[in-house]
Symmetry: C2
Subunit: 287 residues, 2 copies
């Protein structure tokens, strides 16, 4: 496995790989890898000739009062984990390497970014689209892998790829969870022991709301049930807890078949997100 830091190095590898008619799978990450990332890399390994994992804590997707500086980083540990699942190239550029100049052009994520995480993180998804557009152009992947944990991110990136005709396919994998249901997240390391003990109630709350909604079709009642469960059990503060259509993230109507039930909860200073995507057409997905 190679660890490279410059765009020129990656472009050279991409050029050679594509010149041989081989496919590239890209796993964009901010590092501090957990089993969710490794599941993405494993999937990519099975479907592509070359697997590139980017590890880049992207400053443009963090707000001024967010955890960019303190976001956990450990490239050495990440490299061992990535190599263990067959990643060929880790691309770990510096901020200056990714953003040497600013000509003032921006991508605005628009309507789909004004809700859920976007409401409390203005500009977050603009930053996400900026960095993924750059990574897509640098790595020229045939397939790109994202976890369904960032459901809104996946929906917005899929819209970017569709509406701007990026020549690649977005592949998503279900949320990977701890044994007690907590969604795996790099930010889980922020939790104190006491906080860690109660946060499985977030996923429990989502399950309760989903079951309530499937039984009685009342979104408001379902969300109240989940909110009460989560706040009672965790003592946390809910940033949002919403039921929307998926993947277009619009208000639910009588004809909606596919749903995203998503939440963000502040547990002390740590902001955790989780979601369930499910269908009322029969089978459920990604629970």
């Amino acid at each position: 496995m190679k660890i490279i830091n410059t765009i020129a190095q990656l472009k050279s590898i991409v050029h050679d790989t594509k010149g041989e008619g081989k496919s590239i799978g890209l796993v964009p990450t901010m590092g501090y890898l957990h089993e969710g990332h490794l599941a993405l890399a494993t999937k990519a390994r099975g479907e592509n000739d070359l697997v590139v994992m980017s590890i880049f804590v992207n400053p443009t997707q963090f707000g001024p009062n967010e955890d960019f500086e303190s976001y956990p980083r450990n490239l050495e540990r990440d490299a061992q984990l990535a190599e263990s699942v067959g990643v060929d190239v880790i691309f770990a550029p510096s901020v200056d390497e990714m953003y040497p100049e600013d000509g003032g052009i921006s991508i605005r994520a628009g309507r789909q970014s004004e809700i859920l995480c976007g409401a409390s993180r203005p500009g977050h998804f603009d930053g996400v689209l900026q960095v993924v557009a750059k990574l897509f152009h640098i790595a020229e992947p045939k397939r790109v892998y994202f976890g369904q944990k960032d459901a809104q991110q996946v929906a917005i990136i899929q819209t970017l790829v569709r509406d701007f005709n990026f020549p690649l396919e977005i592949k998503t994998l279900p949320i990977v969870r701890e044994a007690d249901g907590l969604a795996k997240s790099s930010r889980n390391v922020y939790l104190t022991e006491q906080e860690r003990a109660v946060v499985p109630a977030i996923f429990e709350g989502l399950i309760l709301a989903k079951e309530e909604f499937i039984l009685h079709g009342n979104a408001t009642a379902a969300i109240e049930l989940a909110s009460k469960h989560i706040t009672d059990k965790t003592g946390g503060v809910i940033d949002y807890l919403e039921l929307l259509s998926y993947p277009d993230l619009k208000a639910v109507t009588d004809t909606t078949n596919d749903f995203l039930l998503a939440t963000a909860v502040y547990i002390g200073k740590t902001r955790l997100i989780d979601n369930i995507i499910f269908s009322t057409k029969g089978e459920t997905a990604n629970v």
Copy 2:
């Protein structure tokens, strides 16, 4: 030569072409071809295995009171001209083919778009970047050809390519002019006989300003000289006439070496643009 209308057709051709390791040159146009476009296609023919010309009057770069509906179109004539210079594929999609859905994501051209043509055409360069980003992703060109007549457009697209790492090269060619100096433009067909007789004064004015500036270094005096010449000789109304650094389009300073002298003039209802790019380091370019 093939004339195709769907993205799927072009992607299929691109897939086959790249699969054979061949290079693609793209010439984006709005059709109603003139010698300027044909010079681009001829250049592309000499440098690439496959030459794709897009012909698409892009609605998102026209303002509500602009000439989108009346913009001259003649695909049959364009096809003959394109074939005569060796174009392999004309991609002439419908508006619905290019914009079937709108997920709300946009590209904002930013600082470089707020001056010159952008000041009087708000949103114009956002629309330009939207359509070129889509075309770049669909045609996957190694080289893309633009005329220097749209100097601001070229500068902004070069910034897009640089800051978002598009895997392609932008090639520009000098302005092609009529014998009397008028810059070739699809919009020249709008001119009456009387208007056509006087519009060479636009280029004359730019030449006067350039000579004045090179001699005395006084930008204000140079621009006044050109403005007076153009308004006196054409009776037109100057939208802008500015001297800026090139290609970054900033205010001129003592250390500026490369200049864009650009103007837009309303001749009756027709808006014509022209420019000169020159250097004070010695040689001049593109006059």
